[in-house]
């Protein structure tokens, strides 16, 4: 029971408005009295709402109720979806994000009734298959990462970082001194210092050397009895592999500190090298990156964390174990555990997709993932390096970072180049990250792009470089072909309009 409020001013505005040059919000399509359903006539005794609900749970009016029909809703969202850019439509070269194709077999397997319709509160004997899947996934990750145990509970990138740091904290605290600081290179993912700080540690930043990697002398000086761990991204955000990683591990271990590896870029060496063999104590992997589960608005994440032998007692509970009789069970009996970090067993549906991917690729296929991811990034690097400045010359793995230094003399900047790419039909790369590169353009093509798509992207980038020389104004005022032109990002951040009002 709702009373419809007349909004004559709003209705008049709507009627007087010219044909929309943009889709507008669903509220702007509202027409008084429209319904998305029609109910049959009431054939039971009528009851007043006031008899059914107490006064504090009722309201007599709804302001700005959105009144639309089914066809209005379908057309509105279909039109919006056509404006959307996605990996299903083309290259999505966001550096650091690994926007790769999500194989459809993952979706098919995740929809099998036994997986999709099971409930996490079901007794263990009814969900043996699900537990077996989790157990198998842990075994696969153990082998891929070279770590003796893995927890599947964390559900996102920063979440698994927090989980890893909490384990390190617990291990050190158990030894009598939790220590105070985490060392983080200036080329790290931004979530690293945030997670370490959230876990209660202070941050000490380490400056990268001219190669974009860690300076061992600097590290040696910085590691003291107050340092709990180093959080390092391998390969780093420049796409450069830390080739001194075992020496780095040695320096930390000699001082009783831990080596935490942000494994978000595992897709560049999966099947080729194993973090466990490098002396790493904690590594996480984003299943929604390396192992092809949807992300970026396409679905929830999953971030398993692998640990070295001495951190096993501190893993989140429950762990998934296989009994002597071959049955699977959840083991809560870990006295030193940091406890749960997530309800139930993480994002189970995502874990199903990841194992499907691993099994459909096989060991050889996963190795090819890394090889092709590196090959594709280096192909782009080779085609673009004459036109765009390459601030770090060290060999790139799965992503390549350029800057706008060749273009700034024409007063054309990274943001302009990114906007202009949209006119050529491409999603722009990550820009202004990593922070150690002024005007960074961070490109990660992933292994799932065919050569034709890479060439089309490179052709567009080269055409833009020429435009920067010959018609810089065209680039500065881009985009020209999108539904809306250059947005005022500063004003959007300074004076955000967070709620529609008539």
């Amino acid at each position: 029971m709702s009373t419809i409020i007349e909004k004559p001013e709003a209705a008049a505005k709507l009627a007087a408005a010219p044909a929309f040059n943009r889709e507008g919000l669903i509220f702007e399509h509202s027409k008084k009295g429209r319904r998305g359903y029609s109910l049959p006539a009431l054939d039971v005794p009528r009851r007043e709402l006031s008899d059914l609900l107490p006064a504090e749970l009722r309201r007599d009016t709804i302001d700005d109720e959105c009144e639309v029909s089914e066809v209005d809703v379908i057309r509105h969202f279909t039109r919006l979806s056509k404006l959307n850019v996605s990996i299903d439509a083309g290259l999505y070269p966001l550096g650091s994000c690994t926007m790769k194709h999500n194989p459809r077999i993952n979706e098919e397997i995740a929809r099998i009734g036994g997986f999709a319709q099971s409930h996490p509160m079901q007794p263990e004997d009814q969900v043996q298959g699900n537990l077996e899947l989790l157990w198998n996934l842990e075994q696969s990750l153990k082998e891929i990462l070279g770590m003796p145990r893995v927890t599947l509970q964390p559900v996102a990138g920063a979440h698994r970082e927090l989980t890893g740091i909490l384990m390190i904290h617990k291990a050190l605290a158990t030894g009598g001194n939790a220590r105070k600081y985490i060392l983080i290179p200036d080329s790290a993912h931004g979530t690293n210092p945030a997670s370490a700080n959230f876990a209660g540690y202070g941050i000490r930043e380490l400056k990268s050397n001219s190669r974009g990697t860690l300076d061992l002398d600097l590290l040696e000086k910085q590691v003291d009895e107050d340092v709990a761990a180093l959080m390092i991204t391998v390969p780093n955000t420049l796409g450069v592999f830390e080739d001194q990683i075992t020496a780095i591990a040695g320096i930390l271990h000699r001082k009783g500190a831990y080596l935490y590896c942000d494994g978000a870029n595992l897709n560049s060496f999966v099947g080729i090298a194993r973090p466990g063999d490098m002396g790493i104590d904690v590594i996480h992997s984003n299943l929604h990156k390396t192992f092809s589960t949807p992300h970026g608005g396409g679905g929830p994440g999953a971030g398993p964390v692998g640990v070295s032998e001495r951190l096993i007692p501190f893993l989140p509970t429950p762990t998934i174990e296989k009994g002597d009789d071959g049955s699977f069970f959840l083991d809560y009996n870990h006295a030193a555990s940091i406890g749960r970090v997530r309800a139930f067993n993480g994002n189970f549906g995502v874990l199903v997709r990841a194992l499907t991917y691993m099994r459909s690729m096989g060991p050889t296929g996963l190795r090819r993932v890394a090889q092709l991811a590196v090959l594709n990034a280096n192909y782009i690097r080779a085609r673009l390096k004459a036109a765009y400045h390459l601030p770090y010359d060290a060999p790139s793995l799965h992503e390549v970072v350029f800057s706008d230094r060749n273009q700034t003399s024409r007063d054309v900047h990274t943001l302009d180049i990114a906007k202009r790419l949209m006119d050529y039909g491409f999603h722009p790369p990550t820009i202004y990250f990593p922070l150690i590169v002024a005007g960074a353009l961070m490109i990660e093509p992933t292994e799932t792009e065919p050569k034709e798509e890479l060439d089309a992207f490179c052709d567009a980038m080269l055409a833009i470089a020429t435009e920067c020389e010959e018609r810089p104004e065209l680039v500065r005022s881009a985009p020209h072909t999108t539904p809306v032109r250059r947005l005022d990002e500063a004003r959007a951040a300074r004076q955000p309009i967070l709620r529609w009002k008539p």
Binding site: P391, S403, R405, T408, I431, Y432, F433, L435, I436, V437, A438, E489, A490, A493, R494
Partner: protein
């Protein structure tokens, strides 16, 4: 870019303008240009005691969030409340209305360790475009 002669400069791009033992601190014209449009400035509480190199606050632009570091040791006696509503002042008038904090210096001679305008301009030439 402008670099007033009457202020001193830190490598992390803060300036200090001294009047008596009070230092007015903000970020340089060079820094605001590098950051781009500033959308949010987080400042310390009045009364906070800061050591040289302590985090003074943070500044968010359309490109990134950066930390501000105190170029001197002392007590925060005033913060620029106007930046809460008008962070763009940092872009339009970094040395004037875009100032950030006023600090009563514990040791006046600390500013002598900072760069002069000339030294800072020279420093930024080597920094840019890395």
């Amino acid at each position: 870019m402008t670099t007033p002669e009457d202020s001193r400069y830190a490598k992390s791009h803060e300036y200090v303008h001294m009047e008596g033992d009070i230092g007015t601190i903000g970020i340089t014209d060079y820094a605001q240009k590098e950051l781009g449009d500033v959308v949010f400035v987080e400042l310390p509480q009045v009364g906070a005691q800061l050591e040289l190199g302590d985090e003074l606050g943070s500044i968010e632009s359309v490109k990134a969030v950066s930390e501000l570091f105190s170029p001197v040791t002392g007590e925060v006696i005033e913060v620029n409340e106007a930046l809460a509503d008008k962070p763009e002042l940092v872009n339009t008038d970094p040395y004037g209305d875009g100032w950030m904090v006023r600090i009563r210096l514990a040791a006046r001679d600390e500013v002598d360790e900072l760069m002069s305008a000339e030294e800072y301009e020279d420093y930024t030439k080597h920094e840019s475009g890395s």
